[in-house]
Amino acid sequence: MFLKKDIVKSIDRDPLRRQIAKRQLRDRLFALAGLGVMAAALLVLLALLGQLAFDGIGRVSWQFLTAYPSRFASQAGILSAWVGTVLVMFLTALTAVPLGLGAAIYLEEYAPKNWLTDLIEINITNLAGVPSIVYGLMALGLLVYEFHLGQSFLTAGLTLAMLILPMVIIATREAIRAVPPQIREAAYALGATKWQTVRDHVVPYSMGGILTGMILALSRAVGETAPLITVGALSFIAFLPHPPLSSEFPFFSFQWLFDPFTVMPIQMFNWISRPQEEFHVNAAAAGVILLLMTLAMNALAITIRARFRRRIHW
């Protein structure tokens, strides 16, 4: 009698227990899978960084930074490439920052609700999804051949500026939107005009987010290769552009804007596509420096974000 009851109990409970145990086991395996995949992605990142550093770091030297490209791998350097990157980035920032900031301010603070605003908004989201090489094609047809700017620094800077403009606008809008409306109302109540409110309150208070977005966008532009190949970057430039400043009157010149250009990723690509192994070492070294540039910009963006987040309490 007693025995029978126990048997009944065990028959009833065990499948349920087993079911629960099975489900819990599956849950744990699933969590493990998630953890494993995450670790795998990070391991790949480590492998990539490790491989690049292992191949290239021995080649990074003062000579490498101050030499022009050469037919001999051991004498080649990246002087024209890094100078090119700095100059192109300068032009890109000079174009994309004011345009992006202006567009974002307009869309967040001024834009009425009408078809034009809708058009601009839809247009910006779609532009962000256009492959970067398509910007290169556009710049080739329009800037190089239609406006006759040539395959120059100016073309390169404008191309990358157009490429990152949607990114800059989206990031700046997000930053501006984080400023609470009470701030604006308080400014209006004190008699400030719209522009005064924007200039003295909205933009300064969202500066952290704006700067972060702009630096991140520029760090994307530093590594961009494809659109610059399309507009005609040269991969073998053994001279520097005309200096923008000089000791003679009128002390500055815009000649450099129309000089042929190269940038870091183009130089690296050129070295990768050669069959000789010594050039691959150069490519790795250029990659190390390129990566340091983008990582430094990312780190700067993260620091700025953290600093501003700590300082502002609404």
Partner: protein, 310 residues
């Protein structure tokens, strides 16, 4: 009398300065509108240039040949203009990339949003963002000189240029795009939905897969579409690691050129402006743009369909 004149004068001055500042306000607004319109000008420029040059191309090559010819040899003495050879390269590398990125990105997103502790999330998220900060040319180096040799030890007959390693590396590259957008939308699912599932005795995995994932599907679709358009448009990795030879093949173990790689290859050479060869890159670019546009629109439609209102 005198005082009245002064007052009047002051009033007039205030009015004029107000008018002046009003004018300044309007001028600034116009300038800002101009900045916003510059983005529209870019789109007009892109569509205009691609369409204009493609019209020149299609004057000399029939659309039928373009779509049905099985060879792409525009620079040979007997040219063929079959875009399918380039589309196949793009489709294969994108498919390989998505086979990596969608499962990995989704699993990472589920883990980060449903399982991971706050401290793990704080460490892993910036590290993953780093994956998307690495320049694509560095990924190309990695694909050609690390992934391909590793694959060759497993598969000795694998050629030095192949779509598999390029696709795998693109997959890893777009994991952070897929995972971060998916995770954001999963974390936006209200907690009470999860609590409801837990109260019914669901495990975390069941809750994640059957409650949170479907509720966040709208945002997850957007993440997938973002990944797809990045993979289609990716250029440097395929140009470096997949080879530059246009071949109509669906086998990822073979070398083949994608649409983007072809554009790079032609741009590296020196084709005369206005020739058919020069126009081919614009026709290719237009095809590429249309493909990404189709996916973006599809994504938009799906995103709307799956949108949940809590």
């Amino acid at each position: 009398m005198n005082a009245e004149a002064v007052l009047k004068r002051a009033e007039a001055l205030r009015l004029s300065s107000r008018l002046l500042s009003h004018g300044k306000e309007r001028a600034i607004e116009a300038l800002l509108l101009f900045a916003a319109l510059s983005s529209v000008a870019i789109t007009v420029g892109i569509v205009g240039v691609l369409v204009y040059e493609s019209i020149g191309f299609f004057r000399q090559v029939s659309l039928l040949d373009f779509l049905t010819d099985r060879q792409w040899t525009p620079l040979f003495s007997e040219p063929h203009y079959g875009i399918l050879s380039l589309v196949s390269g793009t489709v294969v590398t994108t498919a390989v990339a998505l086979a990596v990125a969608i499962p990995m990105g989704s699993l990472i997103a589920i883990y980060l949003s449903e399982y991971a502790s706050r401290s793990i999330r704080e460490i892993v998220k910036p590290a993953l963002e780093l994956l998307s900060a690495v320049p694509t040319v560095v990924y190309g180096y990695f694909a050609l000189l690390f992934v391909t040799p590793v694959l060759q030890t497993l598969w000795p007959e694998l050629p030095g240029f192949n779509m598999l390693s390029a696709g795998l590396v693109i997959g890893i590259m777009i994991v952070p795009y897929v995972s971060s957008v998916s995770e954001d939308s999963m974390r936006a699912v209200p907690v009470h939905l999860r609590e409801g599932a837990f109260a019914l005795g669901a495990t975390r995995m069941q809750t994640a897969l059957r409650v949170v994932f479907p509720s966040a599907l709208s945002g997850i679709t957007a993440a997938y579409v973002l990944g797809i358009s990045r993979a289609i448009g990716e250029t440097m990795v395929v140009a470096i690691a997949a080879g530059m030879q246009p071949t109509l093949t669906w086998n990822p173990l073979e070398p083949a050129a994608t649409m983007t790689a072809y554009i790079v290859q032609v741009s590296l050479g020196d084709l005369p402006h206005g020739s058919v060869g020069y126009q081919t890159i614009f026709a290719t670019g237009l095809t590429l743009l249309l493909m990404t546009l189709v996916f973006n629109i599809a994504g938009h439609v799906l995103k709307k369909r799956y949108r949940q209102v809590y």
